[in-house]
Amino acid sequence: MSGHQGAKRHYETEVLIIGGGVTGTGIMRDLALRGIHSLLIDRQDLNAGASGGNHGLLHSGGRYVAADAETAAECRAESELLKRLAPECIDPCGGLFVAVEGDDPEFAARFPDHCAVAGIPCEEISPTEARKMEPALSEKVYAAYQVPDATVDPFRLTLQNVNHARRLGFGDFLPHMGVEGFDIEGGELKAARCRDLRSGEEVLISARQIVNAGGAWAMNIARLAGCADVNLIYSKGTLIVSNTRLSQRVVNRLRLPGDGDILVPGGTVSLLGTSSVTIEDPDDARPTIAEVDKILAEGAVMMPPLADTRFIRAFSGVRPLLMASGAAEDGRKASRGFSLITHEDQNLSNFVTIAGGKLTTFRLMAEKTGDLVAQRLGNSAPCATHTVPLPTENAVGWTEPGFAARDWYQRADASDMILCECEMTPQSAVDAIVSDAPGSEHHMSLQAIALRSRVGKGACQGAFCAMRVTSHLYDRGIYDSPEGLELMRDFVTERFKGVRPVLWGRQLPQMELAETLHCGLTGLDLLGAKKPGSGRAS
């Protein structure tokens, strides 16, 4: 990569991948294993969209058996692969499907047959046994089945994808890089015109192939290339996160997927979801109070203790759903779950959009995209992601809930100061992320560190750790200007979006304390406010 063309930053790469979600990073790794260099960019940072806004369920497929046997089978096959190749990203906790009084008994009765069709192991257990396994289950559960559901840490998966490509020497990642247009010439996208959204600088990226893995933003990106053949509907899904882990297994309601019907363990917490609301703008995906209340009311039918549980945040992801017509017209539909759109009928020969799909099938989506890109580049190396294990290393292991705490406790090195007490994340973890994690080539902020660790994800939701990590970053010279405080402000503002809908009960005192600290002790609400006569004041 080199800068030329005057002041404008310029990068050259074989393949430009737009979108740092699990699909984009999966493609990056897929290509790297074939010896193809790619540059990955994201308008924000890794997993900023649906890849970071989901429940981390590694589907057995059970959830789709009734409606979509093909997707269900795909999920089963992919989740088996991932369990083998990326075991450290996965908690093979198992899952239960339970029917509660009032749920359609026929639907429940057909469940084992549906599973059999999709090849998903399914074992019926008695309600008593189910309650023994998961004591929080309602007394009103009348049918229960055990399936091999698991959970996956999508952040670690993404970080490891990028890291593997980096270590192979075939991938680079640029966060905060927004695409504003493309230079189109002779049926090819010659370059992407981008902007570094932190510095405001214009950036030009030339590439032989351009992959649009923009998730919910894929339609907007395609339109910048003049393509009208990506048609998405945005479905917002909201989840709420509890302070502790409420069940050992994934607990699904045995009915067609609806609101508040799945409780997924997330290591040390549980996630209750989801809602499904169609929205106009994928950038407008805040969780709402109405959604939270609805999810919780429904969830409590299945697991009554939820009603008295402390929730620490809510978050929303946007599911980009393909409009059937668009997918059908394309004709190269890889499955009913996702779509590879070549844009050849839009008179473009080096542009591809991968859209739809699920977290569980990201590898398969990356494989199909990689196959096309490799073929276009004349590279005959086969896909290797179904045989090569996904390597891990220290700098990408900190998103795992509970890991930092266990690690620190074992070392008990008091000089390695803990910065996040809720999740027991020490300064050495922050240092490792700042120096080695994907994105470390660029300016690391509190937000970026939080994305790559558990900082800010515990009970205090950034009340304390935002201040402690910020101080540490100043000490380390990572921050060297008042911008560090602005980044703290941005971080706690962002956290608040998720906290706001669950502010009642035992989370409210936590919030009250946070506001006192962020305003009264740190002055974040008045950054930049001028006091007559002197410097900055709060």
Binding site: R286, T288, D293, A414, S415, M417, I418, L419, F464, M467, R468, S471, H472, Y474, D475, G477, Y479, D480, S481, P482, G484, L485, R489, V492, T493, F496, K497, R500, P501, L503, W504, G505, L508, P509, M511, E512, L513, E515, T516, L517, H518, C519, G520, L521, T522, G523, L524, D525, L526, L527, A529, K530, K531, P532, G533, S534, G535, R536, A537, S538
Partner: protein
């Protein structure tokens, strides 16, 4: 063996052990009222130690808080400050800071202007009165004096560099130094522990020696707030003498010294001044009657029953337990008093966390009349013997307005005055 029952009769029962509660006790004792204070410590533990009167209005930083109060009464006639005149508030503030100075933590006299007090983030805070141990920092900042900021490895969330970088534009003469706190090398440090170690005379010289070695001509030295716990002024003076420079404390993130210092001082000193203090127990139940109230508490070994002819609620908000919120709404926890609150959770918080206007929920609380008596839904006093003060009151946003101490002190003053008039009239 049966549980003991201890009965106490008192004139005024003050419920709550925060700044408002302790201020109320000071005012009540001064008025000669037979006073008992009950309740568990809440948010006072988290204070910076700065006593704000009014630092911000409409997102603007105020230099003149008294003029600000005049404007506030106009703009927010329901604000608790609007129940009192400036002369009363000034008197209350002065009595309070004099009282605590007398009890062992010297505070600066409230003046006509706000002070620019120092925050660890390297931002100044408009406040009215600061502990004597922190006052030299205000001077150093004002004069731009050559100042050394010292921090300690192992002390979470305090970075001299952060302080320096953020003050650099308005205070270029800052330098920083990180030194190991003697005797606590390689450990996680708690300001409270350091403060107590400096209380012991043998703890001071090793630190002073280390600071002297790096002084390099600095006129002032700033440290995290660790200069002693129960005799901070003595520790401060002794350390200044040993170091040979003016010395000041900077507040730290919780668990921090200034709040613990105040709490321990109140708990130690007020009973000596005649207060019946039952600290660290929560009032489990209260019964209001025509002649007063009975408050019940459960100790480990005995039950307590406090009969009071008047009661002052200074129970704070969510953190201190005076208010509780469930999904449906807010309630007052002890007596089930009506709580003025926004309709529905969607109106509790704005979408932007740090919106300078603050949040609607912050202004929820108890509605009171001019005598600080909580009102029922019909707007009549719930009970003529019941009063309220401090953060539990509605129509204020003490965090954003930087008026926490002022609100606690002024409302306590007003409520105690009204309670005393009621008691003296009815006695």
């Amino acid at each position: 063996m049966k549980r003991e029952l201890r009965r106490v009769e008192t004139g005024l029962a003050i419920i709550g052990a925060g700044l408002a509660g302790f201020a109320a006790s000071i005012f009540a004792l001064r008025r000669g009222l037979d006073t008992a204070q009950l309740g568990h410590t809440g948010a006072i533990a988290y204070t910076t130690g700065y006593f704000d009167l009014l630092g911000v209005m409409d997102g603007r930083v105020l230099d003149e808080p008294w003029a600000g109060l005049d404007a506030l009464r106009e703009a927010e006639p329901a604000h608790p400050f609007a129940r009192l005149g400036n002369d009363e508030i000034r008197e209350a503030f002065e009595i309070f800071t004099d009282a605590i100075s007398d009890m062992g933590i010297a505070y600066s006299k409230p003046g006509d202007h706000n002070l620019s007090a120092l925050l660890p983030s390297g931002v100044a805070k408009p406040t009215l009165s600061v502990p004597a141990t922190m006052l030299p920092g205000v001077e150093a900042f004002r004069t731009g004096a050559k100042t050394l900021i010292v921090d300690f490895p192992g002390l979470q969330g305090f970075s001299a560099t952060e302080f320096k970088v953020n003050f650099a534009a308005s205070w270029p003469a800052l330098s920083v130094c990180r030194i190991e706190f003697p005797g606590f090398e390689g450990q996680q440090l708690y300001p409270e522990v350091l403060a107590r170690s400096l209380e012991a005379p043998h703890g001071r010289e090793p630190l002073a020696e280390k600071i002297r070695a790096v002084l390099d001509g600095a006129e002032y030295v700033g440290l995290p707030a660790v200069l002693g716990m129960h005799a901070p002024d003595e520790v401060h003076a002794d350390m200044e003498r040993r170091i040979g420079a003016r010395l000041f404390e900077i507040p730290t993130i919780p668990p921090a010294v200034p709040g613990i210092r105040l709490r321990e001082m109140f708990e130690r000193e007020l009973p000596r001044r005649g207060l019946v203090l039952v600290p660290q127990l929560k009032v489990s139940r209260s019964e209001l009657g025509a002649d007063g109230a009975v408050h019940h508490l459960q100790g480990p070994l005995e039950d307590l029953e406090i009969s009071a002819r008047a009661t002052l609620l200074a129970t704070g908000r969510f953190l201190s337990g005076g208010l509780y919120a469930d999904q449906a709404g807010l309630r007052e926890t002890l007596l089930g008093l009506p709580v003025v609150q926004p309709s529905g959770r969607d109106n509790w918080y704005r979408r932007d966390y740090l919106d300078p206007r603050g949040h609607q929920l912050n202004r929820a609380g108890l509605e009171t009349d001019a005598q600080f008596r909580p009102l029922d839904a019909a707007g009549a006093p719930v009970n003529p013997r019941l009063f309220a003060a401090g953060a539990v009151l509605a129509h204020q946003d003490w965090v954003r307005q930087r008026c926490g101490a002022g609100l606690a002190i002024a409302a306590a003053y007003g409520a105690v005055k009204a309670a005393a008039e009621m008691l003296n009239g009815s006695a």
